[in-house]
Amino acid sequence: MSDPASASPRSAPPSAWLRSRWAGWFIAGVGVVALLLVPSTYDALYGFQAGFQLHRISLIGIYIIAALAQNVLTGYAAQPSLGNAAFFGVGAYLLAWTNTDLHQPYWLGIVIAMVVCALLGLIVGGPALRISGTYLAIATLGLVLVTQSLLDLWDKTNGRQSYDLTQLPLSLGDDHTLYVFIVVIVVAVLFFVRNILQSRVGRAWVAIRDNEAAAEAFGINLTTYKLLAFVISALLTGLAGALYATWATTASSSSSSADQTIAFLAMIVVGGLGSIVGSVIGAIFVGFLPLLLQQLPAIVSAGPIRIQVTTLQSGIFGLLLLLALIFFPEGLRGIVDRAGLLMRRLLNRHIATGASEGVER
């Protein structure tokens, strides 16, 4: 046991403000304002191409919601489910159905997608409690493939080539509005999820992850909280799916593919399990990096060597992903943590030297 006297100065550092809730809200506020300034910046940067570019980065927001959902389930409540793309696809199709075929208002379609997915999450979560580890991962992966087959079949039975959303609100057709719409939803989701994770419910999930037996001994009902994680995760993924359909103005069964579901897992693994910041970083890495790679010149030539970069994109992405995993096995959020630590240390030193100078004077 270390000496309390030496430990206590560290527990109340001068940089306590940086850790206080006000600092957090302040940083979040600055972030939101910055995000809302992006459209004007893009107008200046890209001119008439700004809409197209904004549309592309709006996709990251949708992935952030999906990554958060996966992280709640896998990173916090420790359920290694690979089933989330099922809800992603169902959310997209439900919105397409209520919008195009049932002519319901857009917001109602979103609500229906979320509620139905939450119910499906409950149905999937029930059996999932009996299965654990790798078995659960592969079983839920099977669920995604079933969903994809069924959605495909629905398309085929109705003789559709694609399930287009024809009754979307006109304003969402504008890329600037769509961007702001998605940013607002993402910020709201981040806000609510953060609050939940810091509440009694979030602590119960982490307790289950850290130690099931101890969690139970302190009265945490494992069934209730695991099911709750499935429901919340499915609800958020359903929302992300519906937004994806809005973004693409069409619903496609590839939303429920094995690739998609593994991409969600990849986001939280590369970003950081059990971390909100990690979900965001992971969504950017997996969702945005491929877009950046598309910006590379098609052909790079150095002397006699001509390299066809376009065909290398997925390989470069794979390599970067692999390097990230090797150097940050606990996720890229480690970079942010380290930066925060560095800042705190610098600030401490600054204040400490300032204080000692004051004493001398």
Binding site: S199, R203, A214, A217, F218, I220, N221, L222
Partner: protein, 273 residues
């Protein structure tokens, strides 16, 4: 002193052919500190696991505050007022010490997921009270300086103490302590003994302690029960029981070892004061 808080009657646990606990009776009076000692494999932890529900006994009854404990599901037992620590830590390693103590208060809090959505409101007020309560508990046990450190990164001895704090924070009527002193340095054991006694005196918690460390047992226990091969060997005041030749024999083999136990018995009174 007062009436019995916990009564175990005729408790038997069989794991396949092995009889871990054999027709064991124990009465823990309210407000007392009772120690359960015995050689390794004597069935002490099994008795604790029966009380907290991780093991279902083959036979017997456990009454707690007038209710049949064995009919309560495992996760309900915290709710009726039973807390415990674990032999092999089982802290929530990725959480801070403070969050460990907040999580331990799970049953005492009511916030649902809807209340958790907002950064203010009744759920947060409740959380703030729980936080104050946790900090007060850490203070009383002399652990306040650990509050914001991640539990899994603390030295082993400190983690044991956090385990004790986590069990005590909800102020349960009965706390089961499974070898709280194992792995804790000698000087800290004396601190722990003082903390436990102070806690009992101030809060009135009943403690059932499984322990190998005789200095701790001598220092805190009001009565000692000795288990050997699942059966009760002796029961009574610490001084009397721990100098009982039959107990020494079971514990330490026959001759030569007795001197060790005497040493323990001699140093103990100093600790208690």
């Amino acid at each position: 002193m007062t009436d019995a808080l916990l009564t175990i009657t005729d408790l038997t646990v069989r794991f396949g052919g092995l009889v871990a606990v054999d027709r064991f009776d124990l009465t823990v009076p309210s407000g007392q500190i009772v120690a359960l000692v015995g050689p390794n494999g004597a069935g002490k932890t099994t008795v604790l696991n029966c009380i907290s529900g991780f093991v279902t006994p083959t036979n017997g009854a456990i009454q707690f505050a007038g209710r049949d404990l064995l009919r309560l599901p495992r996760n309900q037992r915290a709710r009726v007022g039973i807390g415990r620590t674990f032999q092999n830590l089982q802290l929530f390693a990725s959480m801070t010490v403070l969050d460990n103590l907040l999580t331990a208060q799970h049953s005492a809090l009511r916030a649902t997921i809807l209340g958790g959505l907002l950064p203010f409101g009744p759920a947060r007020a409740e959380d703030a009270r729980a936080r104050a309560h946790a900090l007060a508990t850490l203070d009383l046990l002399g652990l306040a300086h650990y509050a914001h450190q991640v539990a899994g990164t603390l030295p082993f001895g400190a983690q044991k103490l956090v385990g004790v704090a986590r069990a005590l924070v909800v102020r349960p009527q009965l706390v089961l302590l499974d070898e709280p002193a194992a792995g804790v340095m000698h000087a800290d054991v004396l601190d722990l003994a003082a903390s436990l006694r102070r806690w009992r005196d101030e809060v009135g918690t009943t403690l059932l302690l499984v322990e190998h460390n005789m200095s701790l047992v001598q220092a805190v226990a009001d009565s000692v029960t000795v288990l050997d091969y699942g059966r009760k060997l002796a029961e009574g005041l610490p001084q009397a029981v721990l100098s009982d030749p039959a107990v020494l024999e079971a514990y330490l083999g026959s001759d030569g070892a007795a001197s060790d136990a005497t040493v323990v018995a001699e140093e103990a009174p100093n600790v208690a004061n």
